[in-house]
Amino acid sequence: MSNPLHKKHHFIERSILSALAFLKDATTSEEYANRKGFLQSLDPRFKTISFFSFLVTAVSLKSAVLISFLYGFCLILVLLSSIPVRHFLVRTLLFIPLFSLFIVLPTVFSAMTPGDPVWSFHVAGITGIITRPGVDGAVLFVVRIATSVSLVVLLSLSTRHSELLKVLRLFGVPQIFVLTVSMCYRYLYLFATMVENIFTAIKSRVGVVSHQRHGQKVVAWNIANTWNRTTQMSEEVYMAMLSRGYTGEPRLLSKFHATPKDWLWLLCAIVICAFLFYRGHTL
């Protein structure tokens, strides 16, 4: 039988290790971005602009049907890009849209959104009335969230993180900022591994990082130790940059090359967005 106290003792350790595992997974999950597929073959700049347009369209439309069309298109792109649909659906539909459903749930009732009743019920002497405008509003909200999340996830799954960061240059973000963020991202994995190793080392010596008070001490000590190491490493990395000619104004490789296919894709994206806006306006 599992001991609840034992579980509580492991809380800190499990939380930290889970957070580290998530961090490492997030920084290394470029498996799909490296596959051969339709979205992967597009220039990241064009891809980002087109997805940004889709996102603005999804947020602006007031028709759940039209937004669903965009969601359907998103799923077709998933299929064309060699990304497993199940993995994509689990990643996009499980948490955020479900969470948004809970948020929006109270608005379906007449108390918050008056209108034509669709269904009513009695629980413990209280009458609940669900209204049509309430349901429509909730559906629109959830569909819009699901579509927006799906678009963002699809963009991040099909594009290497380093390329996504470089696309920031398109929006006028200074090169030094892009370089700094890229470096932070690159070293996140290293520090996550370092903290994980520290925990393994502690476990190998004292068994478990178990007792809550002791666990808190270990975490505090770990934070201080990691801080010291990061400071030292940042100085060394700066030296390595200086050694290779860095003088405060970084120059980075711009290896993007647009092809006719990218322009065609952008045109398609504009046409789809324009069509949806037109339909949304005439509905």
């Binding site: 991202y185 030296m239 290779r244 003088t247 980075l252």
Partner: protein, 269 residues
Amino acid sequence: MSDIIFEVKDVHYSYLGKFPALSGVNMTIRSGEKIAVIGANGTGKSTLLQLLDGLIFPDRGRVTAFGERLLEHSQDNEKAAHRFRQRVGLVFQNADIQLFCPSVLEDIAFGPLQFGVAEDEVNRRILEVAEVLDIQHLLDRVPHQLSIGEKRRVAIASVLAIDPDVYLFDEPTAGLDPLTVRHIIDFIVNANQRGKTIITATHDLHIIGEIADTVYVFGWNKSIVSGGSSESVLNDRSLLETNNLIHMHRHHHDGREHVHPHLPLEPHD
């Protein structure tokens, strides 16, 4: 003399002003030389390389490179700094420090791009160094996903792309498998044959015969305790023992235990 590249005169350096790292180091390095700096951990080898690369500056004494004194404020001048850094390249001991870009390709391109090399030329150099170091398949990879040996080769490629006259290697073979060690030794020897000056800090005595003609031994006093040809230094057993560079080695031969000092050049029964 005109072929002198580095002149180190009575150099003292300490970290935070209280932890001495170098005490009175003197050495002269000429163009095309193959030099090894050996010594136990903490004797100041890496500090010396950082001084030679103009990353840190002596508390006392002077370091002259290519006839000009290396001073902190001279590195503030972009042109002067670039002129120096295009001629001297340091391969750091920890490849994770050297590989700070999000991809291998960008790491190799970083140096040449800072020196204003045109992108077409940078792309040509990337392909060239990738072929030399057999890392073509790694170009699109993320540095943290590579093995230690791959990281070390990419770190060397990032310096090779600059094509400096002087290569400074800090423990280039530490922790690597034998085949990767072989590749790195071959690279160093080839670079020297192409006229490059090589300065390697190491405590791996087995590679010194190949990567160095001249060896300087750093002692616990954070200074050079001896220097000479690689053969003479490696055959000086008491010097190596005193400076913690050899140890007694215990192993089995034909079913019997056998103990002898671990010397790189000395054959044993």
